[in-house]
């Protein structure tokens, strides 16, 4: 389980919302993200965020608070800023702390963003082929997150047959 510089565990009990579709449609859905327009991509994440705002207090059975409107809207703002062509649709889940977790896995890289409230963001990036994890926090400046997303969204280069 990864932890950040302060030793805090960067993992929480959460409610998974990995896909709005049935298991049978999951494969088709995950293959189609590359062709989604910005509007389609954002409509998908917005709908999933709306589901999170409707979770009642205590949804995890352990007294989790409701996710605030501000936290949800800040998450939506971050996702709008991070969108890039070929960026997969993220997994979005509720955290027992009242935050929102956003996760991507692409090209062997993994990016996890925790949004604990407006301008209160923590992230973990695991680069493919590297044992080192990059952990940090972000306020209003999200340029570091944009750099990670650029790696997640880079086009696949297929080597030509000899």
């Amino acid at each position: 389980m990864p932890s950040d510089a302060s030793g805090t565990v960067l993992e929480h009990t959460r409610l998974g919302l990995s896909s709005p579709f049935s298991a049978g449609a999951q494969r088709l859905w995950s293959e189609s993200w590359a062709s989604l327009s910005r509007n389609e991509w954002l409509r998908g994440v917005r709908n999933r965020l709306k589901v999170l705002t409707e979770l009642p207090a205590g949804w995890d059975g352990y007294g989790a608070p409701r996710i605030s409107v501000e936290t949800t809207l800040f998450a939506l703002q971050i996702l709008q800023d991070l969108w890039a062509r070929r960026l997969p649709t993220p997994d979005i889940s509720a955290m027992s702390s009242g935050g929102i977790m956003i996760e991507w896995e692409s090209h062997g890289h993994e990016l996890t963003i925790e949004i604990h409230g407006p301008y209160a963001t923590r992230f973990l990036f695991e680069r493919a082929g590297s044992d080192e994890e990059e952990v940090g926090t972000a306020g209003s400046d999200i340029s570091q997150l944009q750099s990670y997303v650029a790696e997640l969204a880079r086009p696949v280069v297929v080597a030509a047959a000899a």
Binding site: R38, L42, R43, R46, L49, K50, T53, S68, V69, E70, T72, L73, F74, L76, Q77, I78, Q80, D81, G117, P118, Y119, G139, S140, D141, I142, S143, L145, Q146
Partner: protein, 286 residues
């Protein structure tokens, strides 16, 4: 209550451009905060506390929550938002209609506005004093009701200007006069026998704001000018400028400094973007 550092900053603004007859139509000072639970209890109590200076009450749809974030510069793209939540926005209005406080569970706005083009702009310090009066009233109400205190996550200052067109002037001509766009006039000329006649224009300008020696931006300044009309049908260029961001320090002192920097950024940008011809018209004194 004294806001020492802010007062000092206010007194030190001696080089700020100033106009005797500015085209200011409305000024807004706003803070956005973490939504307060059970806020519906506060509307009536807040009304009681400000009723003497703001006796009229109206109800409106809420203002959408927005956040300024900064990364690599990117194209302006349409914003997505969640559908409106079940919020109410109360308007508390002075008897003369010039002062308005807007209140919803996550936002407080202090406005000064002209009414039908009438009213002398009382200047920013007066609007700021009104803002603090309203904010203190809100704090007192939430404390008295046992609600959470407002936790500010963003603040903004906005100036709206109505710049009237001259008799017979078109909007492109007015933009050329107000903003000194030589290319607009140039487009009226001939191009290989084809005549280009400007018929519509607007201005949109965005800038990231950096504190001295800071590497990361602290706010964003947005300026927009577009053709419009007043309620009584006068043609105007509606030119508004907004300074918005998360205050680094959300105590009173830090918030006041942030708002004052916003005012300076707006006034200087307004002066830089508009023409000397208009400055004379607006009686620039400094």
């Amino acid at each position: 209550m004294s806001y020492g550092r802010g007062d000092t900053l206010m007194n030190n603004i001696t080089d700020l451009p100033s106009f005797c007859a500015p085209p200011v139509d409305e000024v807004a000072i706003a803070v956005q905060f973490q939504g307060i639970d059970r806020f519906s209890l506060a509307y009536g109590t807040f009304y009681e506390s400000v009723r003497e200076r703001l006796p009229e009450f109206e109800e409106h749809d809420p203002i959408a929550i927005q956040f300024e974030t900064f990364g690599r510069p990117r194209d302006q793209l349409p914003e997505f938002s969640l559908e409106a939540f079940s919020l109410r926005r109360g308007w508390y209005v002075s008897a003369d209609g010039h002062k308005v406080v807007q209140l919803q569970p996550n936002r407080l706005v202090q406005n000064w506005r002209r009414q039908s083009g009438v009213g002398e702009y009382p200047r920013f310090p007066a609007v700021l004093t009104e803002f603090w009066n309203s904010f203190e009233a809100l704090e007192s109400v939430t404390r008295g009701l046992g609600l959470a205190m407002p936790e500010i996550n963003q603040a903004d200052v906005t100036y709206f200007n109505n710049i009237e067109l001259f008799e017979g002037e078109t909007y492109p001509e007015a933009f050329q006069r107000v903003f000194e766009w030589p290319s607009v006039g140039g487009l009226s000329g001939e191009a290989n026998g084809f005549r280009l006649e400007p018929e519509a224009c607007n201005l949109s300008f965005r800038a990231r704001v950096f504190a001295p020696d800071a590497e990361a931006p602290c706010a964003r300044l947005v300026a927009t000018a577009e053709p419009s009309e007043t309620e009584d049908g006068k043609k105007i260029v509606r030119f508004w400028l907004r300074f918005r961001g998360p205050p680094t320090h959300i105590d009173r002192d830090g918030l006041e400094r942030f708002l004052l920097v916003g005012r300076v950024a707006i006034v200087k940008s307004f002066t830089d973007l508009t023409s000397k011809v208009c400055h004379t018209l607006w009686q620039r004194e400094r």
